[in-house]
Subunit: 494 residues, 2 copies
């Protein structure tokens, strides 16, 4: 079936523009040096003995659970970490490059609640999980599935990751994020992606198909499960984004300079661990530095400070020659103007920072506590606006149109000119969500606001969604894997 | 009375960041050369004989009403046009520089309708005009009053400009825009600003106090009234922004390259006329290039093409060494997510283009047909976000806060640390409109969306508004001027 929603075709987005530095080179070095001092003098608490041993073997000072590392370990890690990596799903046409001037957009990840304007707010569940995966597959602006868009809370916590991975692989053909809490969940994601691609896990070492985000228990703590997840992913050559979640005023000092220093120290530590696990393992410099509302302690997102952190973090990532991950986010409780302007602040900060992966690019609401259907649509529209903004201006003779200008009289109009008629259907970006009707026509058509129009769009998209074909043998193998692992896990840990 | 709304203090905004070019230098030259070709070969229709004579005297080819000019006239104009100018109102503390890295924000201008969520949509009128001037005075993010925020349609068209100028000068202490339809309306604005400053019109030649925007009847036509307004303002040394209103697909060819070429040709022509009128007269390179919806012919704003035009036009203005004016705008019929994202697209395009004056910065709705109270508040909030984004990151030792990091244990939090306590009240930008409450608290407080909260804010602002003091003798002189001019104008033209 032809889809009823006009959208941009699938493409890997590139950002043709140079950097937009908001720190001068000395500023970047000051943050770097201060971070090195944090790593050397204060260190990072690391609750995993195997990981501590890797650092000790590399010359770090291990004091109980605290690991202090020098710049030598950081520099050696940066020497082996690749500047670019590629994610390949079961559909090779949807391969995405992370690094250079490439930009990819990920589905929102992690909310314990979902919301739409018809059914209201409810706990995350498997039915909504599947709907969001269908939407992510349907809309070409989404390049990668984030972690647990709507965690199926009604399913057993120790094996529900298997159901979500299966949904990712059957309802979409995109790459996805493994849940890297411990080794088992990460390995399951790697195994299932390998099955879907018809290759071995060993083949996948040089051609990663899954990604994970390692947040940090900021300030300065990596717990055991997190360290195991990171090491498992790196051991198997899969992509790790080390992303300290550093809300200034709570998990870092209350100043942006300090927030960046602490983020940078924690990120460099995690990056070093990926390279100690497997030199050359693909790793991404992640930033999620925003601030809290100092009146209430509530987290805030899409703030001016968050936007600045997004730009400055890109400068740090470039200093280290690493791909860069940022986020789209808002604290708004409702899909409205605030939801849009906060997300725009994060989005522009990301793009100006030269981001390679915008995580939570579509659907993030309520400070990450809610995956919203309407916000997903709004975000896809805003991502498409950005994709078109990043398309270079064509200055060929045909586009400069001197002849058309010479044909149309002064004070006239170009509607009927042949130059217009030859191009008008595709001349400009045609939004799916914006309403450009005049006031009278808008009133007559129901005076719907953007959020109401978004409701109609996700419904249409779900109606028009077509499940991607999957070889029956592969589907069977995935089912068998899930069944076998569920039996194996039983009541225990994955 | 202390205001109940927390806002940023009055300040002239500066943009510390370098340019963000989206055209390469060759692209800028291609647009320049194509514009020169338009001026040389096609020319501009000019309905004013005096202006045609100025061009003829400078060596232009005048053929009936069409004036064709060569690059020599353009280059001579660019030689005498100043790269920067200053607007001074009756309050010298509110002087604003236009040029360099300075950025000023103007109130929406021109809508024939006004709207608020309590009283609905209605024709522009004097009562609303005055309310908007009070809001512009109240909110520090507004630096200049645009043309006719809500044209008082119930007053006589031939003299209502006098009432609006008087309102500008009594209800605010800001600089303002004269209505430059013919000579009389421009001169009245100049005279009344001089009265309010207690100086002569001759004194004001070197210290402009008013500004005007000259749109063009694109394609390629300056009408008589427009030419007279421009020449009057330049004759008296006041600031002219030459801003072709070039909606691609309607007033220009349907391609962005051609839109920029035509805008540039028309702008250069008007800029030349200011310098022929008075060499050294302050003039601004204006851009308002967006596109129409090619399905309906409706104008669209804040589109990706509009954002790109805003950036590219800044490159052209810099190539000519002129201050640069752009716009904030949206086609949305309602203050919602679309209103926010379209305005954000224009706003970021403006800032990345190195704009010096964002006209229509607050209150523009419905493609410019509506001045909206709630949109005004939304825009002020977004402007404040941008002001804070443009504040450089402080990387002093105190801000990097190594000591604070060393005091707070791993996995702990910084809420109670002395470094936080010393800074928490002003550490981060505190928005007036954003709601950062958690979902439960937000529900309990009435589940208000951004637009509903904006309604409360403009009401509070109007309640708390304090009229700026004005010397009684000056007020009397303004009244006398208005009365004298109304008598003089009678039923005729101003």
């Amino acid at each position: 079936m032809e889809s009823r929603i006009r959208q941009l075709p699938w493409r890997q987005v590139t950002n043709p523009h140079g950097p937009f530095p908001i720190l001068d080179p000395e500023g970047v070095e000051r943050i770097h040096e201060a971070s090195i001092r944090v790593l050397e003098e204060l260190g990072i608490e690391l609750w995993n003995a195997e990981a501590r041993q890797l650092f000790a073997d590399a010359g770090a000072i291990v004091d109980g659970e605290v690991v202090r590392i020098g710049r030598d370990i950081v520099e050696e890690a940066l020497r082996t970490a690749p500047s670019q990596c590629t994610l390949t799903s079961r559909n090779p046409d949807k391969q995405i490059v992370l690094g250079g001037n490439h930009v990819a957009f990920g589905l929102v990840a992690g909310p314990p609640a979902v919301h739409d304007e018809i059914n209201g707010r409810r706990a995350s569940n498997m039915a909504d999980y599947e709907q969001f995966i269908r939407l992510a597959h349907y809309f070409n602006a989404i390049h990668v599935i984030g972690n647990q868009v709507a965690s199926p809370m009604e399913l057993p916590a120790n094996n529900r990751h298997l159901d979500t991975y299966r949904a990712n692989l059957t309802l979409s053909d995109l790459c996805f994020h493994t849940l890297s809490i411990g080794r088992g969940r990460a390995l399951d994601g790697i195994n299932m992606m390998a099955i879907s691609r018809g290759i071995t896990v060993e083949d996948m070492i040089d051609s990663p198909g899954v990604i994970t985000v390692i947040n940090v228990n900021s300030p300065r703590r990596f717990d055991d499960e997190m360290a195991k997840g990171l090491m498992t992913m790196s051991e198997f050559g899969q992509i790790v984004s080390v992303t300290p979640f550093t809300l200034m005023g709570a998990m870092t000092p209350v100043t942006l300079g300090a927030g960046l220093v602490q983020q940078n120290a924690e990120a460099l530590f995690g990056i070093a661990l990926t390279q100690l696990t497997r030199p050359g393992a693909p790793v991404i410099y992640g930033s999620f530095t925003s601030n809290v509302d100092m009146k209430s302690g509530s987290p805030a997102f899409g703030t001016p400070e968050h936007a600045k952190a997004n730009v400055a973090s890109g400068q740090l990532a470039r200093r280290y020659g690493l791909p860069y991950r940022s986020s789209n986010s808002s604290a708004s409780n409702v899909v409205d103007a605030q939801a849009a302007y906060e997300t725009q602040m994060s989005l522009w900060g990301s793009i100006l920072g030269g981001t390679n992966l915008i995580y939570h690019a579509a659907g993030w609401m309520e400070g990450g506590l809610q995956a919203s259907y309407e916000k997903f649509i709004l975000d896809v529209e805003m991502l498409q606006h950005m994709m078109e903004f990043l398309t270079p201006i064509d200055l060929s003779d045909d586009e400069l149109a001197f002849d058309a200008m010479s044909r149309v009289p002064t004070g006239g109009h170009f509607f009927g000119d042949e130059h217009t008629l030859a191009r008008y259907t595709d001349a400009f970006y045609a939004p799916m969500l914006s309403d450009w009707q005049n006031h009278g026509a808008w009133l007559e058509s129901g005076a719907k606001n953007t959020t109401e129009r978004a409701t109609a769009l996700w419904q249409t998209a779900l109606d028009d969604y077509v499940e991607p074909t999957l070889d029956a043998a592969v589907a069977e193998e995935l089912d068998a894997y899930v069944a076998r692992r569920k039996a194996q896990i039983g009541d225990g840990d994955p």
